[in-house]
Symmetry: C2
Subunit: 483 residues, 2 copies
Amino acid sequence: MSLNEKEFVKEVTPRAVDFSQWYIDLVLKTELMDYAPIKGCMAIRPYGYAIWENMQQLLDKRIKATGHQNAYFPLFIPQSLLQKEAEHVEGFAPEVALVTHGGDEKLNEPLVVRPTSEAIICSMYAKWVQSWRDLPLLINQWCNVVRWEKTTRPFLRTSEFLWQEGHTVHATEEEAEEETLKMLGVYKDFVETELAVPVISGLKTEREKFAGALKTYTIEALMADGKALQAGTSHNLGQHFSRVFGIQYLDTDKQLKYAWQTSWGVSTRLIGAVIMVHGDDRGLKLPPQIAPVQAVIVPIITKKKREEVFEKCRELKTKLAPKTRVQLDDREGYSAGWKFNEWEMKGVPLRLEVGPRDLERGVVTVVRRDTGEKSTIPAGELPQRLPHILKEIQDNLFRQALAFREENTHFVQNYAEFQEILQEKMGLIKAFWCGDAACEEKIKDETKATIRCIPLEPEQKEKGACLFCGKENNRMVYFARAY
Amino acid sequence: MSLNEKEFVKEVTPRAVDFSQWYIDLVLKTELMDYAPIKGCMAIRPYGYAIWENMQQLLDKRIKATGHQNAYFPLFIPQSLLQKEAEHVEGFAPEVALVTHGGDEKLNEPLVVRPTSEAIICSMYAKWVQSWRDLPLLINQWCNVVRWEKTTRPFLRTSEFLWQEGHTVHATEEEAEEETLKMLGVYKDFVETELAVPVISGLKTEREKFAGALKTYTIEALMADGKALQAGTSHNLGQHFSRVFGIQYLDTDKQLKYAWQTSWGVSTRLIGAVIMVHGDDRGLKLPPQIAPVQAVIVPIITKKKREEVFEKCRELKTKLAPKTRVQLDDREGYSAGWKFNEWEMKGVPLRLEVGPRDLERGVVTVVRRDTGEKSTIPAGELPQRLPHILKEIQDNLFRQALAFREENTHFVQNYAEFQEILQEKMGLIKAFWCGDAACEEKIKDETKATIRCIPLEPEQKEKGACLFCGKENNRMVYFARAY
């Protein structure tokens, strides 16, 4: 094995040449995933799945801390159940996978492979919710879902994907709205703190909301190519589902009332967000909080000091392991330079080099993936200092992503400028919109830009003219082309 | 709300009257699961799912400690892939669910919803395994699988269930066999240590082995009704799959060789094992290691000391929480007696009663679910002592289960006695078997008893006559009726 170092990197298309190809090259080359022999499906390889496991753990903790419990509901939904809520079926029916045969027999009724679980969960909740004492019902599920997508893209849009979906039931409209916003806040905190991806919280327009929801809130992130990505959604379902599924509770006033519901989810597409926000031409840059390997030790071997170097590396690993996810790359037959490139591409936040000279001086050479900065640190100080350096990297990644978003957010007051920006640099575009779905639709048809959200905390209170029709209004929204 | 205490318990059928009904009553009444509106499918409710989460965590740690990484493979398998391995398809084809339509269109080739993932995983491994450097490949997946079962039973046999499936690739036959046995050992340790369920390790007969395997090893447990349950299996797949899927590696000697493989799995059926091994007429008895709630605090309220008692309970909860999964049952409108019964039924290992008299004496009344034993412990000592008491309960549950198994294991030398035992008390029956599948088959047809396993460590080396045909041999096996 003697791959040329430059060749190794050359296999990934530069971002500036073709962002899409850069992304595909990277997810394959870093072994995050691989294509499977089923249309639009992928295998998530161990390195990619370990990122997902870290995300799961950090989010699950937050979901439980806010009083939710996990459960598991069936994969299959009888077609008639999915059809109960009119908007819901309209939104999902065109993209479902249907099971028509089971155990060699044709089924009386086809089963839908869940594209989302409102229908099956509501059919159970109708049994479980009887009295005000049963409320609120706060349940979450981690599972796979299937949506038969026409065009797919690893992590961002696949026919099968992994996600969590929370489904809650409340006594009042106010409580449901409070829950919807609380979980949006949990998502924002999780994505910004752990993934170092800044997001804008807002409300979806009627046109963009979840099929069956009263209101959909979203967190939106800006990718490095100037396109937006919906990173998570939280829906206030109102009584849409409780009325068709008969989720009623006997209130303290002895009246039977329809319950109020929410649902909310984030998925493995967040892995795509992390790649597209932080990555560069040298590869991934993983935020330390979710990196499967936070620091990799690479021994610099010379013939003479071989055993001493290895010994020091093993010792270092043992000392760092309690507080840091550390790996020792002791593979034979690969040059140190080759290993440097590989771990850089894999986005490991810190590289620790240990060579004969470091050994003599009692230091370790520490290289940051985010800045490329190189420093030497006394070996004895490393266990204490590493967590702080990792924290600095995490913060720096967030700062850089935030700065990028700010540079690429444009306030626009006329449609020509709007079109020009979309043509040239994309990014997020803040503009006034009259609230009319017709204007929204025409803008989308002409520019492929959609309203990402009506921000929860608008910065400007003043009025302005609708980008498209010119009607005066005070609704400032974010537009972007999106994944 | 004022349910009579006796009524509460009366809703569960006594074990001696109808074990099957007792089981069903219990899983529904304790809210472990509920039936879903799809044939043979269930919803795992939060209390049941929390048991599964604890099991997952404890087993996942062991799987990773033995060098395996988690990954995720597609839910769907093209029918042609499943058909590649002849025995495999013969075993699974009759019980698969088929997706024939996706996104409103008929598919060119039906997709099988995975009943197990050998086929799809091997199709990926054929790409990933190229060189001896890629071996061993040690991957595990946590997921749902679907087998269209004719008769179903909560947790024990459902059309969809949750499990983990390990799939490994090795350079040599010896390594594959070593891995197969290593994971069997991991399962045995996990089930005995964490679930307090004693198991017998052994080899399946040709008739009972996994469809497509060279050899199947199993751990078998004895349920309280005298029936056996296969609690986990580990398969040496030989080169069966590598040959049909083309999993080849270039060895150090420059020769292209077919790899050797294993697969192994345990599922949510383990929840059923825990219920049937430990439960009694008062309800579940959960081993502390996997109990969602290890200790429940029940306030004994009188009008006068109400606030003081609640205050003490909250304080106790805070002090116990760092080391114990503790819950305070502060629900209003339920009597203490009603709560006692409910938590007993839910199998919580310890009940902590705090009443006005306990308050005065500075003690807490501690009641063990496994023995019913009541003691008073100074409140200040509780945080230190509770983990020890929980350990005692865990050990005691295992001892009781082991004693039960020993009492219900019978060594039998003639067929009449064999039939009599199966008629009267069941249990595990040790007997000699000639090794002929015909004898095995006839015994099954006549008695419904199957060979559970050929134990790994036979206790007796001597020879004996085959239970059915009388032929002299030295193969001692375990028979039982099984779930």
